[in-house]
Amino acid sequence: MSRSRRIALFALVGVVALAGGIGLSLWDRRAPDAQDLLAISLPDIQGARQPLSQWRGKIMLVNFWATWCGPCKEEMPEFVRAQQELGPKGLQVVGIAIDQPDKVASFARELGLNYPALIATYDTMEVAKPLGNRLLGLPFTVILDRNGRVAYTQLGAMKPEQLRSILAKLI
């Protein structure tokens, strides 16, 4: 196969994989396993280790993001709003930043972040691959129901109406 043809094939595969990943939603009895995700333990901005399992029993919205990722920053105010309104009803948003602590801390202050911001490297994102994010794109959001099962995943930013309607079904 010539080099240019190989490159074209790679590009096509990349686009198809990406199209398949975006807007992937799982309303399915055979929900993917969240055990690997819940087993994660990461430092927060203050350096304190936070195991995700501490929030078992909550409706968890785990959002992978980075300060250099424009679409990530644009959707975060909606998560802040959701945490404020639905926190008392059992929602726990957790941000996992593939980023440096000082940049995350600055942005968290600017935004008035009201949920934990944990610091990770791309190694942590390996758990995202079986959940429909093979290319490790950001932002990536995983929503777990109160039983710790994956209820929804979203590659790319979430629209506010979409977020509201999914959470309404889970709360």
Partner: protein, 123 residues
Amino acid sequence: MLDARTVEARFSIADGYYLYRDKIHFAVEPAAAGLSVPTLPSGAVKEDAFFGRVETYRGSVVVNLTLAQAQPGQQVVIAAESQGCADIGLCYPPTMQRVAVPIPEASVVPSKSTDAAKKSWFN
């Protein structure tokens, strides 16, 4: 190669995608070949609400890399790291690409015509 000491690196960026200027980094193996930090061309400026000026590239971007101590006949590897996003609202992890570049023998006069060796970086 543009001449015996200069490699032209070209990023071909697909439609609907962009790269961040400050996320492009180059290295050479062996380091002794003496890669000097290249000047990256200016990109399109976007004002980011929190981080001020951000420069991005679309279409294609060319960077000339100078290898001050490359030896004639040596084989070096250029490693290029880049990071970018798609307009649909998704950003990718840093991508590393490596290309082997043979440094011409001293007796070879590099051609300036269109068939001069250019490494094309698919991105």
